[in-house]
Every structure is written in structure tokens, then in C-alpha cells.
């Protein structure tokens, strides 16, 4: 009965999302755990990103022929967002593998483990946001009302992190080579996606950025922070990927949800 399986998959998603006494705590403890005995804690990651921005900013603005102050803000926003997006993709692969102990012993909705990962990365993004605030303060540009789109964009990325965590988590639990493949692809994607260089530099070849869904997810948050008006194409693409992602994920999740406990 395929409809019964779909129902169970949806129930897992719903019950997992509602378990707000579980995944926020697990995600938060993971952040705390990683940095428990260091003084500045998760801000170490912030510092390393900041060092990258400060180091690369002057050099790459020359390389790409961009005005320094504008490029600084661009690079800061891009790197912080990329760190978030790539962590979501990479950690999606190990979502269920890392939760093996829980999955084999207790009945928890699988979605709990996915939300834990997404929540943890949202907390880290919150720390890294300091860099963006500093860059905006010193290098501008001033912000207009479009900035209300920033939290919406971040939320949409996080919502995509959920289906990605289920889909990649499931596939990677079965095929253990996939995490390595994904990690390599994300490495390449960092250079192919306009992170260090603005898409405008492509000129007539801008399509090379626009066929890349990662570009659109960066853009929906990045443009309002850079004082640019939102791009309807990017929002449309991001929403389309969201819808498509959930459809594909549900197809896999309903089929293989019960198998995950045997795979991890």
C-alpha cells in the first residue's frame, strides 16, 4: 500500500518537526560540545572566516578589478553564506550515519536527526553573521527595506537543508562512498559558484551562474545585504528547487524510511 507508506513518511516529518524539546537541544549541545573547553567557543570558526575575508579581500579585489570596499562586503557575505550552505550539504550525508546509536535503539522520528543538523548550522551561521555586520558597518552599503528578505532567504535555505538531510542522509547510509563524492563536488562548486567573484563578471555568459541552483540560494540572501533589489529569477529558482526537492525526497523517504535502521 503505497499511500500508507507515504502517510508514515509524512507522519515522521510532522512528529519530528514537532519534537521541539529534542532537536533544538541536541543541536545546541553539539555546538557547545565541540567548543566546550575553549574560551571563545564557536567564534573560532567566525575568526577563521574573518581571517579569510581580511586576507583575501585586498588581493582578490585587485585580481578581479573590483573596488576594495564593495568587494570586502561581497566577500564577507558570500563566504559566510557559503560556509552555511556547504556545511548543510556535507553534513546532510552523515545525518543518519552519525545518529546510528539512536536509530538502532530508540524510536525517534528520523526527521529529528535531520533538524538537529540544520539547527546546529543555523546556530553557527548566527555566530558568523558577526562578520557580515562588521563588514556592513565599515564598508557599507547602507541597507534599505529589502533587508527583510534576509531572514526569509535564510529560512528557505534551512528548509532545503531538511529535504537534503533526509535524501542524502538516506542514500549515504546505504552507499558509504557518496559522502566523499559530495565533499569533492562541493569543493569544486565553491569555485564554480559566484562566491569569490561576482556573477556580473561573466557578462554575456551569466547563464553559467544561473544554471547553478547554489547561486540562486546565495543570491536570495546576498542581494538584499548588498543593497541590491531582489532578483525574481533567483527566488523562483529557489522555490522550484524546494518543491522539487521535497517531491523527490518524499518518494525516496516513503520507500526506504523503514530500511534506514538496517543500513546505518
Amino acid at each position: 500500500m503505497p499511500s500508507a507508506k507515504l502517510w508514515l513518511a509524512l507522519q515522521d516529518l510532522w512528529a519530528g518537526t514537532r519534537a521541539i524539546h529534542v532537536w533544538p537541544m541536541l543541536g545546541w549541545l553539539e555546538v557547545k560540545q565541540r567548543y566546550r573547553r575553549s574560551t571563545i567557543g564557536p567564534f573560532w570558526l567566525t575568526l577563521s572566516t574573518a581571517a579569510m575575508v581580511a586576507g583575501m579581500g585586498p588581493l582578490y579585489s585587485k585580481l578581479f578589478g573590483q573596488p576594495v570596499s564593495g568587494y570586502f562586503t561581497y566577500l564577507a557575505v558570500s563566504l559566510v553564506l557559503w560556509t552555511f550552505v556547504s556545511a548543510l550539504v556535507n553534513e546532510a550525508c552523515t545525518t543518519f550515519i552519525n545518529a546510528e546509536g539512536y536509530i538502532k535503539q530508540v524510536r525517534l522520528p528520523l526527521t529529528v536527526h535531520v533538524l538537529r543538523v540544520v539547527w546546529k548550522n543555523l546556530i553557527i551561521l548566527g555566530h558568523n553573521a558577526v562578520i557580515v555586520v562588521v563588514a556592513l558597518f565599515f564598508f557599507g552599503p547602507g541597507l534599505d527595506w529589502h533587508v527583510v528578505l534576509v531572514p526569509l532567504g535564510v529560512l528557505l535555505i534551512a528548509v532545503n537543508g531538511v529535504w537534503l538531510g533526509i535524501l542524502l542522509g538516506l542514500v549515504c547510509a546505504r552507499f558509504r562512498d557518496i559522502p566523499q563524492i559530495v565533499a569533492s563536488l562541493m569543493q569544486v562548486a565553491m569555485f564554480l559558484t559566484p562566491v569569490f567573484w561576482p556573477a556580473e563578471m561573466l557578462g554575456r555568459n551569466r547563464w553559467a551562474a544561473e544554471v547553478n541552483p547554489l547561486f540562486h540560494f546565495l543570491e536570495i540572501v546576498r542581494r538584499p545585504l548588498l543593497g541590491q533589489s531582489p532578483d525574481a529569477l533567483s527566488w523562483a529558482a529557489a522555490l522550484a528547487v524546494t518543491a522539487g526537492g521535497y517531491l523527490v525526497t518524499l518518494a525516496f523517504f516513503q520507500r526506504y524510511r523503514a530500511r534506514i535502521a538496517y543500513w546505518v
Binding site: M25, L29, Q33, A261
Partner: protein, 255 residues
């Protein structure tokens, strides 16, 4: 109302990277372990449970016995809801408390206090259910002010006492145990056994997997014997308890 009804449970573990048929034949009927078989897509699978059916009602204290690999733990995990059977159905009425691994999810860097909430969440308790029990847990586990220290600073005895105290503060209709829980030095062990007995008294159904026949005779009123993932006998203890004894000698002294 508590009830467990299992019908034709089959649980198979796929073995990935097992090298084909020759291995399969060699270990086809090993002395221990589940049946090795192949599923529809020619993968090698271990059939840990093979058509297991039973019904448990209120008042049942069930002992699961069998060799290593006979399917006891797998069956407990199915009852806990972790594994969904490949075939067959399982109906469970009532709240299940799994004491299969009582320190699962505890975080060495988190404080004892934080770990109470963590364990509670994993056991399916809400913060408002566990909060009123914290003082009692602290007292029972004899941790004192250590409750506010990270778990990694605890001795292993302290950590076990805390895990035990949290796991036994649940009220559940159905309690699952893999081997009898026992913790601590002589003084604490006695206290712990009394507490465990109270929890079990409140529960309507208990399922205990153990190698210790004596323990099972003392605490259970039914025995399910598993071998190679199948039920080979169901016995009602009580009057015939003595008759059961010669069938299987007590393997080791009670711990």
C-alpha cells in the same frame, strides 16, 4: 490497557560487501547466529527473526532466552520501535520504555543536569514531565552538587548511577530490558534493585532478555525460547517452574 501482538515477524539484515555464495554455504547453518539467506535481489541477508508470532497481555512478565544471536536483542529492538519488520505485523498498545541501553545519548561534556533533560528527551519524556523529578534523581544517584558538573568529571560509578536513576524514573506500560539492570557497589545495588522492582511493579508488561535462567524464573511468569530467529517454545512458569530446570542448566551465577 497494554498489549503486544506480533504476527509472523521477519527481520532481515542485509550484509553488504559479503563475498557471494561460497561464504553463504559455509555459514548457512552456523551454531549461533541467525539464518543466512538470500532475498529477492540476490543479496545475502541475515534473517534475525523468522516468522515470530506471540501475544502478550497485561500481567505478563516475559523472559526471552536463547543463544547469542538467536534474535533476543533484535526482538527487543522491534518492540522498542527501532526496527520495522520486513514482513509480519506488530501491534503495541501502551507506552513503551526501553531500558536497552540506559546511557544512550548522554553527553560527557554536558552537566548532569543537562544530561537528565537529554536522556528524558530521548526516552520520549517532555521537559515538564522530567523537571519535577530532578531533585529525586539527584538524591537517588547520590550526586549532590556534582549534578552541575560535566559528566566527564564523574567516576564511571557516578555516571552509571545517574543513567540508572534517569531511566528508572519513567512510568510506562511496557518495559523492555536486555539483561537485568544492576549498578553500583553493594549498598547502592540494593537500593537500585528496590527502585527497579517498584518501576517493574507499576508496569503492565515486562520483557526481559537474559541468559540467566534463575533470574528469569524469579522475575518472569512466561518464557519465550528463541533459536535461529524462531520461537521454539513458550512456557508458562509457576507450577511447572521446577520441571523446566533440567532442560537448560543455569549458565552462570547471578550478577
Amino acid at each position: 490497557m497494554a498489549r503486544i501482538r506480533a504476527h509472523g515477524l521477519v527481520v532481515e539484515f542485509p550484509i553488504y560487501g559479503a563475498s557471494g555464495r561460497s561464504l553463504k554455504n559455509a555459514v548457512m547453518r552456523a551454531a549461533t547466529g541467525g539464518l543466512l539467506a538470500k532475498d529477492a535481489s540476490e543479496r545475502i541477508v541475515v534473517r534475525a527473526l523468522n516468522g515470530v508470532s506471540f501475544e502478550l497481555r497485561e500481567g505478563d512478565r516475559v523472559g526471552l532466552v536463547g543463544h547469542n544471536g538467536s534474535g533476543k536483542t533484535t526482538l527487543l529492538r522491534v518492540l522498542a520501535g527501532a526496527y520495522e519488520p520486513v514482513a509480519g505485523t506488530i501491534e503495541i498498545e501502551g507506552r513503551v520504555a526501553s531500558m536497552l541501553s540506559i546511557s544512550l545519548g548522554m553527553d560527557p561534556e554536558a552537566t548532569g543536569h543537562e544530561n537528565i533533560f537529554l536522556r528524558a528527551a530521548i526516552m520520549g519524556m517532555r521537559p515538564h514531565e522530567i523537571a519535577p523529578l530532578i531533585e529525586e534523581i539527584r538524591e537517588f544517584s547520590e550526586l549532590g552538587d556534582y549534578i552541575h558538573m560535566p559528566l566527564r568529571t564523574y567516576s564511571s560509578g557516578m555516571a552509571m548511577r545517574l543513567a540508572f536513576a534517569i531511566s528508572t524514573c519513567v512510568t510506562a506500560d511496557i518495559i523492555l530490558m536486555d539483561e537485568w539492570l544492576s549498578v553500583g557497589d553493594a549498598g547502592f545495588a540494593k537500593k537500585a534493585q528496590e527502585r527497579l522492582a517498584r518501576v517493574l511493579d507499576r508496569a503492565k508488561i515486562m520483557v526481559l532478555a537474559s541468559h540467566n535462567e534463575e533470574l528469569i524464573r524469579d522475575n518472569c511468569n512466561r518464557v519465550i525460547r528463541l533459536d535461529h530467529g524462531e520461537i521454539i517454545a513458550v512456557e508458562d512458569l509457576g507450577a511447572q517452574a521446577a520441571a523446566l530446570r533440567p532442560m537448560m542448566p543455569v549458565p552462570a551465577a547471578a550478577t
